[in-house]
Every structure is written in structure tokens, then in C-alpha cells.
């Protein structure tokens, strides 16, 4: 068995390059206080992978230290993968910074491996140019290397040197490399102590003895040293085209006509998904009008969409667009209707609860709520998730209908871990229950005065300047205060200048029997909530 002829694009210092740092600036990416990658300039000063941050900084005082962000590395690598993908469809990404394609087909099409390497080099340097200034497209560029060999392992090493290893020469090419390049620290340490220092020595050992002495890991290492593939290349399949669209000619401005077209479109989309064994939980409905307006909205479903579900949502959405208020309505008929499945997952069917339970929402309720979303928009129908907080409005988080409801306040569980998840974390200074039944979305401006008509203030020590006697809401009539308590100062998020709020709260009962929660913030009294 011989290894597949493979081309590898390798970006040696990818974590540094992904952060947008040119090679001539000394920079290192650290994770858990250890250097995981360093730029060329930093390496020249002696910064090595695995050093402590402080050690690295002492070797190179001007070192730019960057925290590792795997998400950023993967995102930044995507253009490179796409550039390579234009030459051959089955690109395998080992990890951000290294990707491989089999060369057999592409090399023949583009006129040989030499030509392919040059073309890919140009494409990759174009892709990287968006991140760092690339001065050269030659093979000694510090940011990337392209290599071709039999097998991915040999090709990766070849890419580091910018070489094309001739067919069947991989074993000879690898023979002189130290065993450390296998990147199996424990095994290579043992091999070195046994006197096996080069890959050629490992490759020459009898296969059965290597397996008996070093186990499966040793056998894999020997296969690599012999220039064979660890496993066949597992290329990523190009994502299937799942978008269903239909052009409407003549333009449609009636809901029923458009809904009729949508029905076949939904059927079409569903068939495509079923053929691939997929189900979709979110679908984006897009429409274009004759005047070039672009309408788009995302729809969620707690189970997989069936054709009837999709068609129904398209009809509601079209109803919302075409018979909405004059401001939101498109000015011309629809010419294009498009369905984009947004969250596609393997179809695992759907199990409903036996006695209600998990299934929770019955079909009828889900339809009614989705219908209202179609009229007013997906954010118009919400359910509440209660969490921690001090003021009545902070304890509530509103989740649009269809989005997952995650219980509990994220910050409280993150801080206390799983130790105290059941008990509510303390919120010192929160207003004690009963809570107000009406929490004004914007505080109503109020005036609070004492018996002589002077405005009530709260001192720096948290005391009221006088006994509150009368209250006027929104410049309304004065009403006497019959009972009050407070002030309860709350100094929240002082560490964040943008979210910092300093308030003092007061509970009052007025002569007409109503009770209110007042708050003094920035010198102004407001009715924060009403106990209705």
C-alpha cells in the first residue's frame, strides 16, 4: 500500500499570524501562561514554544504577548481553506494553520505539481494578505509553506521547507528527520533513550517487533516514518446547496398567490433535506420585490420543520409583509422567494412526551404564537425566564418564542459553579418580596417633598433629608404619603463605567391606598414600579 500523493499548506506560526501580527514584530501567543507560538522575530531572540510567559519576556523584552483564541484562529484560516478549495474539492483541515488536499487530479489539470504549488502559493498569499502585509509570494515566505509528498505527514514536513518530494521518495526524505517531529512526546523520548534518533532507524525496525514493544502508537509512528499514511485523507465535503428559491413572474402582491408558490417551495426544500437525512430547526424566509427591496426574517421551530410547517410560516410571514402597516409594506410585488435552512442537524425524529410533560406546548398553542410572530415579528412574542437581580426588572429575561429557554441567570451559575445551583444566590440589597406587579418600562418622573414643600434628598450616608410627605407623579396632583420606608441604597456595577448605576430606593404607600417603589437616581426621583 502506498500513500496518497498529498499537497499540504502549512502556516507554521498560525496563532501569531491569525492575530494579525507581521513576522518582523516579536510576538508570542500564550495559553495557560505558556508560549504556544512565536513569530520569526521572537524566535530569533530565543523565544521557544513551551516557555513560561515571564521567561519569554525576559529573553525578548519588547515581546507582544497575545492570549490564545482558538475561535479567531479557525475563523482567520477559513479564507485560506477556501482559497485551496478552488483547486480541489476535498480539503482536509488538520487544525487551524495546516490543510491538505490530494494532488492527483488537480496536479494533472493545472499542468503538474510545480505549477499547482505556484498557483496555490499565490492564492494563499492573497488570502493571508488580508491579515498581515505579505511582501513576497516566493517559497521562503515566513507565513506559509507548500509542500508535496507521498502521505500527509511527509508533505507537512516538506511544506516546512517548501519542497516537492518525488513520488516513492518519501521514506528517503524522512529518514534524516529526528524522531521528535512525530509530535508524540512520550514515545519519542523513549525511542531517543533506546538510541533510535532518526525516523530512518525507526522505519528499518521489524514491524511486528515495533508493535509488540511499543503498542499501536508505536506501529502508527513507524508507518509514518516509512512514509505511509496514518489513515486515508478525510476531506471535508463541500456543504450541500440547500437553498430553495423560486422566481415569481408576474410579480405577486397577493398573499394567497405567493403562499401557493411557497407551498411547492417548502415541499422542495423538505425533500432535499430528507434526501440528505437532515432536519432543520430554523429557516430564513427571504423575499425580493420589483423595486429591489429585500425582506428577510428568521423562523424557529422546536421540532424539525415539516413541509406544512414551513409553508404555514411562509404564508404568515407574507401575510405580515403584504398586509402590514403602510410603513413596513413593500412598495411593489414580490419577484423572488427564497428559503434558507439556517440550523440544519441530522434528523433524529421527534419523541413526544406521554403525559404532556416534555412535549410541553401543544400544536395549537405553538401555531397561535407563531401566527402572532408573523404579524408582529419574532421578537414580539416572548416568554420570561426568571433569574437573579436586585431590581424587579433585572430579575426577568425575555426570550423570543421559539428560542431555547435556559433557566437561571448565567452569571450566578458561572460564579458559584455547580456547588450551589439549586439555591438562589444572594443578591444583597434586593427589594424584598412581594414584588411590584407593574414594573414601568421607563420610570415615571416624580417629585417627593417634605411637609414644607422642600424636595427630599438622600445624603451620602444613605439617609433621607426629611420625612417624605407628598408625592406627585408626572406633574400630576399632590398625594399624601401615609407610610414609607427606606432609603435603600444600591451601588451596582461600579467596576463598569457604562453600566454603573447608583440608586436609592424608597417604598411608599399613598393616601389613595396605592403603593409604589420610588428610586432616586442622579438627583431625580422616579416611580420605578407600582404594587398593583
Amino acid at each position: 500500500m502506498t500513500a496518497t500523493r498529498t499537497l499540504v499548506v502549512s502556516c507554521p506560526d498560525w496563532p501569531v499570524t491569525a492575530a494579525g501580527v507581521p513576522a518582523d514584530i516579536a510576538a508570542a501567543v500564550v495559553f495557560a501562561n505558556r508560549v504556544v507560538a512565536a513569530s520569526v522575530a521572537a524566535r530569533a531572540d530565543g523565544v521557544r514554544v513551551g516557555l513560561r510567559r515571564r521567561e519569554a519576556q525576559s529573553r525578548c523584552p519588547g515581546l507582544v504577548v497575545i492570549e490564545r483564541d482558538p475561535g479567531r484562529e479557525a475563523r482567520a484560516f477559513e479564507p485560506v481553506v477556501m482559497a485551496v478549495e478552488t483547486f480541489g474539492p476535498r480539503v482536509e483541515v488538520s487544525h487551524p494553520g495546516v490543510c491538505a488536499i490530494p494532488t492527483r487530479g488537480p496536479a494533472r489539470y493545472f499542468g503538474g505539481e510545480e505549477a499547482l504549488v505556484d498557483l496555490i502559493g499565490v492564492a494563499v498569499s492573497d488570502a493571508i494578505a488580508g491579515l498581515v502585509p505579505v511582501a513576497t509570494t516566493s517559497r521562503d515566505c515566513p507565513y506559509w509553506g507548500v509542500g508535496v509528498a507521498d502521505g500527509r505527514f511527509a508533505a507537512t514536513l516538506a511544506a516546512g521547507r517548501g519542497l516537492i518530494v518525488a513520488p516513492a521518495q518519501s521514506a528517503a526524505f524522512l529518514a534524516d528527520f529526528p524522531v521528535a517531529v512525530l509530535e508524540r512526546a512520550e514515545l519519542t523520548d523513549l525511542l531517543a533513550r533506546l538510541g533510535i534518533r532518526a525516523l530512518g532507524q525507526l522505519a528499518a525496525l521489524p514491524t511486528a517487533d515495533v508493535l509488540a514493544r511499543f503498542g499501536p502508537e508505536g506501529a502508527v509512528a513507524q508507518r509514518l516514518a516509512q512514509g505511509l499514511d496514518e489513515r486515508p485523507l478525510d476531506g471535508r465535503d463541500p456543504p450541500p446547496d440547500l437553498i430553495a428559491s423560486v422566481e415569481l413572474d408576474p410579480p405577486v402582491d397577493r398573499v394567497d398567490t405567493a403562499a401557493f408558490a411557497a407551498r411547492t417551495l417548502a415541499q422542495d426544500l423538505h425533500e432535499r433535506l430528507v434526501r440528505l437525512g437532515l432536519a432543520c430547526h430554523r429557516v430564513r424566509i427571504e423575499a425580493e420585490t420589483e423595486h429591489g427591496e429585500h425582506l428577510s426574517r428568521l423562523w424557529c421551530h422546536d421540532g424539525p420543520f415539516l413541509p406544512a410547517d414551513i409553508a404555514e410560516r411562509v404564508r404568515w410571514q407574507l401575510d405580515g409583509w403584504l398586509s402590514g402597516t403602510a410603513a413596513a409594506r413593500p412598495t411593489a410585488g414580490l419577484t423572488l422567494l427564497r428559503l434558507l435552512p439556517d440550523e440544519v442537524v441530522p434528523d433524529q425524529g421527534r419523541q413526544l412526551g406521554f403525559w404532556g410533560g416534555e412535549a410541553g406546548v401543544d400544536e395549537r398553542t405553538a401555531r397561535a404564537l407563531a401566527r402572532v410572530q408573523g404579524l408582529l415579528g419574532p421578537e414580539a412574542v416572548v416568554t420570561a425566564v426568571l433569574g437573579g437581580g436586585r431590581s424587579p426588572d433585572e430579575q426577568v429575561r425575555l426570550v423570543p418564542w421559539g428560542d431555547p429557554r435556559t433557566e437561571g441567570a448565567p452569571e450566578s451559575t458561572a460564579r458559584t459553579g455547580d456547588r450551589a445551583e439549586k439555591t438562589a444566590p444572594p443578591w444583597p440589597g434586593r427589594v424584598p418580596p412581594p414584588s411590584p406587579a407593574i414594573v414601568h418600562t421607563r420610570s415615571l418622573v416624580a417629585e417627593v417633598v417634605d411637609g414644607d414643600g422642600r424636595a427630599i434628598e438622600v445624603t451620602g450616608r444613605g439617609l433621607v433629608s426629611a420625612v417624605p410627605a407628598r408625592l406627585s407623579v408626572a406633574a400630576g396632583p399632590w398625594i399624601e404619603v401615609t407610610a414609607w420606608a427606606g432609603p435603600w441604597p444600591a451601588d451596582e456595577r461600579w467596576w463598569d463605567p457604562a453600566a454603573h448605576r447608583r440608586r436609592a430606593r424608597l417604598q411608599v404607600v399613598l393616601a389613595d391606598g396605592s403603593a409604589h417603589l420610588l428610586a432616586l437616581e442622579a438627583g431625580c426621583w422616579g416611580v420605578e414600579a407600582t404594587y398593583d
Binding site: 408582529l376 426568571l386 424587579p392 412581594p434 399613598l510
Partner: protein, 267 residues
């Protein structure tokens, strides 16, 4: 799940008039049949002292716990922590805070799918709209709970004017008194309210009760047993069927009880 519960869930179909959404025991005395009859329209009102929102939430609490879905339309300032404290399962509460000018369509659509819809009647409601919604509720077996007036409303209309249609049960908080708050000390703990229910049919005779809404322990509890008033009350009353006492003065719409109304008018 206890066997009795299972038996209740799987029992055969009952008559439309017997199908009810359950309410907490403290409120069952106010409702004809001890629950919210499906398909009925209920108005909940209060004077300037407030209590309508809490009463409406307490009314629906049991139904949401039982698994019914309720929708709340046009109350952007509803305190959901209070709802949870009064026993409402907020995961079965769908909120449409801003239906804008399409509240009529929204309420009608929701009546199709949920068991109860609460909404605050807008400033102007046309009688045909009311008839349409009431018949929709009756047809779909959903309860329509209308908040009329209350502290949160900008205007304080008489419930009959706020909802000039047929009401099966009209609930009104006539008096409300908070406890626990002193002159510079304490904090709000409980509230004693007096609720009057009257309507048509089985609810034609006004029923009066005193409740804790909530009690210092945080529950909705009876403070005083339900009393059924004699048909001929001392104060003039609108024709039976339009369920609300006349506007009494300063302190809500309770039948004018001279001394108290006069004293609170000074406030």
C-alpha cells in the same frame, strides 16, 4: 403522579358549561362554579388603590401550573417576578408586550391557541370588536380576561365604559390596604383587599370577599369567608348582566359606603 390526578386527566368529555380552568382555593368562592368557565369573559378592575393586575395573575396561577397556556397582551410593564410569586408558572405565560394597533387581531389569534388571554383594554374599544372577541372566546373555549382601569392605566375609566360588552363575571377590587410599612421603617409585606364579583347567570348575585393578595407569607389566602349579598342592594345598580358596581368615588367602585368614601376623597 397521583392516581386521582391521572383519573382527572383522562376522564371523559364533560359539558361545555362544566369545563373550567381551576383557580386557587381562595378565589374559587368568587367564581361561579368554582373556576373560570371556558369561553367566558371576565373583567378585572380596581380603584386608584390598585390590585387589578395582581388579582388577574392570581386568577390564572392555578391554570398555568396545571399546564394551560396563558397569553398576556399589551402589558409591557407586567412584573413577572410578581407573577411567579403569586403562583403563576411563567414558562406557560406567553407575552405580547406591544401589539401596537393590531391588538384586536393578536387577541383573536391567541384565543385560537391558548386557554386564557389577559389584556388591558385600550382607550377606545368598539362594541362590534368586543362582540367578535367574546364570541371567539366562547367558540374556542378560551377565557378572556380584561384588565379595566387600575393603577397602571393612564386613565381610570368606569369598567362598564372600558369594556362595554357582555361580561360573565366582573371582579372589582374595592378596597386595598397594605401592611408592614410604617413611618420610615418596615417594608411592604401583605395586602388586604376586598373583592366584589358579580355578573350574569350564576354570578348575578354579587359576592364579596376579603383576601390577602398576597399574605405576609406570600400566598393568596382568604381573610374572611365569602358573603353573598342580597339581590336588592342599598345603592342603585345597573341592569343585571353588566357586571360592575357604579363608580363610587375616591376609593374605587365599591357600593358607596358613606364614611369611607367621603374620608378618602380628601386624599
Amino acid at each position: 403522579m397521583p392516581l386521582a390526578e391521572l383519573a382527572r386527566r383522562v376522564r371523559p368529555v364533560s359539558l361545555a358549561g362544566e369545563q373550567r380552568l381551576e383557580v386557587v382555593p381562595a378565589l374559587s368562592g368568587l367564581m361561579p362554579g368554582g373556576g373560570i368557565r371556558r369561553g367566558s369573559t371576565i373583567t378585572v378592575a380596581s380603584g386608584p388603590a390598585g390590585g387589578a393586575t395582581s388579582l388577574a395573575l392570581a386568577l390564572l396561577a392555578r391554570a398555568t401550573v396545571e399546564g394551560s397556556w396563558c397569553a398576556v397582551v399589551g402589558l409591557p410593564d407586567l412584573g413577572l417576578v410578581t407573577a411567579a410569586e403569586l403562583g403563576v408558572d411563567v414558562s406557560h405565560l406567553a407575552l405580547v408586550p406591544a401589539p401596537e394597533d393590531r391588538w384586536m387581531t393578536v387577541v383573536a389569534s391567541l384565543l385560537d391557541g391558548v386557554d386564557a388571554v389577559v389584556f388591558r383594554s385600550p382607550r377606545r374599544v368598539r362594541p362590534p370588536d368586543i362582540r367578535r372577541l367574546a364570541s371567539r372566546a366562547r367558540e374556542r373555549g378560551a377565557a378572556l380576561v380584561v384588565l379595566a382601569g387600575g393603577v397602571g392605566a393612564r386613565h381610570q375609566p368606569e369598567p362598564r365604559r372600558a369594556w362595554p360588552g357582555v361580561t360573565d363575571v366582573g371582579l372589582a377590587v374595592t378596597t386595598s390596604r397594605w401592611t408592614g410599612l410604617g413611618d420610615g421603617h418596615g417594608c411592604l409585606q401583605g395586602r388586604q383587599v376586598e373583592v366584589v364579583a358579580e355578573g350574569r347567570g350564576a354570578a348575578a348575585r354579587p359576592v364579596r370577599t376579603r383576601l390577602w393578595l398576597p399574605s405576609p407569607e406570600g400566598e393568596v389566602a382568604l381573610e374572611q369567608e365569602v358573603t353573598v349579598e342580597p339581590q336588592a342592594a342599598s345603592s342603585p345598580r345597573p341592569a343585571a348582566g353588566l357586571g360592575s358596581p357604579p363608580l363610587g368615588g375616591g376609593r374605587g367602585w365599591g357600593p358607596a359606603r358613606g364614611g369611607e368614601a367621603a374620608s378618602s376623597r380628601a386624599g
